[in-house]
């Protein structure tokens, strides 16, 4: 049984067919990359998996159960977490509190207990804070735990978002262009970090990326989307030499010049 299987997924917005008949599968402890030109439907696919949109047809199966059409918070609870293309951290919460929020959503104490200094609440909060601190340590930003996230440089904000996504130890981690806007040295740090995380947590990683360096170094399998269709899939090497993919990215060779 695969960790996540997408079967013939389709979604359109009005007349725009954002995604048509796309199938994909990923196993745990595996990194799969999704690439494609702008507007190819990569982020739409992520939004369908994480429950922001409801697919028109097709099915999304996670660990043998369909999660199609479930609300977002339930999908997060079965063990799928994600980051966003444009970093979406919570203003008004410190870095550490940002990382604590997914744990808070799983917390047990009631609102009455939340208003009183009872031990069950204090204990839960302390445990969650320690867990969040551990994760911040792993992604290497524990020095900034009491900062406001918007005061951090962009690269570090991305790490906060990554920490927030992995703090609940998900089974599937979805990263939407995690290396966009990083400089080359930050990028190799990032690749190392993702490898470390995968070694540690053994989750499946689904990654949208434009930087071929990231794709080639990390993933075993690459899916290429173009205009909402699945163009090709295979190892990074195969994809790099696939004439269809080259045509989609660079355009037709017109031979003349």
């Amino acid at each position: 049984m695969m960790l996540l299987e997408i079967q013939n997924l389709a979604k359109s917005f009005g007349g725009v067919k954002a995604l048509q008949d796309v199938s994909l599968s990923i196993d745990s402890d595996e990194i799969v990359a999704v690439i494609g030109p702008n507007g190819a439907g990569k982020t739409t696919m992520f939004n369908l998996i994480s429950g922001i949109y409801r697919p028109d047809s097709g099915d999304i199966v996670f660990e043998g159960k369909s999660i199609k059409g479930k609300p977002q918070h339930e999908i997060a609870k079965v063990g799928i977490s994600r980051t966003f293309q444009n970093v979406r951290l919570f203003r008004g919460l410190k870095v550490i509190e940002n990382v604590m929020t997914p744990l808070d959503a799983l917390g047990k104490y009631t609102i009455i207990e939340a208003m009183l200094p009872v031990s069950s609440k204090i204990h839960t909060d302390k445990t969650n804070r320690r867990l969040a601190e551990e994760v911040l340590e792993i992604v290497g930003i524990s020095a900034y735990k009491d900062w406001q996230p918007l005061n951090l440089p962009y690269g570090l904000q991305r790490r906060v978002e990554l920490a927030r996504a992995i703090v609940t130890v998900p089974k599937l981690l979805m990263l939407d262009e995690p290396a966009a806007g990083l400089n080359p040295s930050e990028m190799s740090d990032f690749i190392r970090l993702i490898r470390q995380l995968k070694e540690r947590y053994r989750f499946g990683v689904l990654i949208i990326e434009h930087r071929m360096q990231v794709v080639n170094e990390l993933s075993k399998c690459v899916y290429v989307l173009n205009f909402g269709n699945l163009l090709a899939f295979g190892t990074p090497n195969e994809i790099g030499n696939n004439p269809d993919v080259i045509r989609a990215y660079i355009g037709e060779e017109n031979g003349g010049c």
Binding site: S50, G51, I52, P71, Q72, H73, I75, A76, K77, S81, R82, F84, R88, L89, F90, R91, G92, L93, E97, N98, M100, T101, P102, L103, D104, A105, L106, G107, Y109, I111, A114, M115, L116, P117, K121, T124, D125, N128, R164, T168
Partner: protein, 303 residues
């Protein structure tokens, strides 16, 4: 002007009016400050609590340990009733729903004069709430809300307020948290209604209209939308201000309008912004003062 009698009167006014309204306003802080939902009918929940307790007490002679839970329970029931449809809407529509409920309730209270006293209000209700009761209630409410802000609910609320979509994909059940908070805010305001009626001894439905509710929203915004300290500070300041301008009611309204304009233009995050006067802030202020004292001698030596 500043005779002992006047000061005594002001103190009495501060506790019996300002502090009670402040508790009611803290309901708005929980709702707007933490979750970002607007309620233009929050004062009507105060009316729910106040009228429940007053009517049970006046007509059935029930003691406070029955009417107080009854008042809060009615607040919870009405909060849930309004909250269930409201939280599924976009947040600006919450304001419209609550405004509608608030005005409907006030109209009901004014027109069913046989039981509620109508526009004349209810009078000769037992006054057994003393000043110190109100002070204790205020402190307890503030501590409870401060605890709430630092708890898992507070963090989830702030997450929802700033990015509902991201909050949902972190596993937060947005509608449920919103409903819980809406109900809690209604309960807090109903509690304030109980204190109000038994501290003043009369009830007048005119006090609980949309103008009171919208003033609470203004106060919370003026104080700093994310700061409990700011809300309390602004609540005391803006509620006590009208007392100094008693000679001219119009001037009072002009001052409120100016406050709103200046806040929106020059300090949209509110007076306190996101700063809380908690232990960490006090320590920072202390360190700053110590540093500026230490800095002086070195300056002289340089000269």
């Amino acid at each position: 002007m500043f005779t002992a009698a006047y000061l005594g009167y002001m103190l009495n006014f501060l506790v019996r009016n300002v502090f009670v309204l402040l508790i009611g306003m803290l309901g708005v802080y929980v709702l707007t400050g933490l979750t970002g939902m607007f309620s233009l009918g929050q004062a009507s929940f105060m009316a729910v609590g106040g009228y429940t307790s007053a009517m049970l007490c006046k007509y059935y002679g029930l003691p406070f340990y029955v009417t107080l839970p009854a008042a809060i329970l009615m607040g919870v029931i009405f909060g849930a009733l309004i909250g269930i449809p409201a939280v599924k809407l976009r947040r600006d529509y919450v304001a419209i729903v609550s405004l509608g409920f608030g005005q409907a309730l006030v109209a009901f209270l004014q027109n069913s004069s046989s039981i509620t006293g109508g526009a004349l209000g209810l009078t000769s209700i037992p006054k057994y709430v003393e000043e110190w009761h109100i002070c204790v209630a205020l402190v307890l409410t503030i501590v409870a809300i401060a605890n709430l802000k630092k708890s898992r609910f507070g963090r989830q609320c702030l997450a929802i307020k700033h990015d509902e979509l991201a909050a949902a994909s972190m596993g937060i059940h947005v509608a449920r948290i919103k409903l819980i908070v809406f109900t809690l805010a209604a309960a807090i305001s109903a509690f304030a209604g109980f204190l109000y009626v038994h501290s003043l001894g009369y009830l007048d439905s005119g006090l609980f209209g949309w103008d009171q509710s919208s003033m609470w929203v203004i106060i919370v915004f003026f104080g700093g939308i994310n700061s409990l300290t700011g809300a309390i500070f602004a609540g005391i300041l803006l509620n006590i201000l009208p007392e100094f301008f008693r000679f001219s009611n119009e001037l009072r309204i002009i001052i409120y309008c100016l406050i709103v304009l200046f806040t929106i233009n020059f300090r949209p995050q509110g007076l306190f912004g996101e700063t809380e006067l908690d232990w960490a802030t006090l320590k920072r202020i202390g360190r700053f003062i110590i540093k500026s004292f230490k800095a002086r001698p070195t300056n002289r030596r340089v000269k």
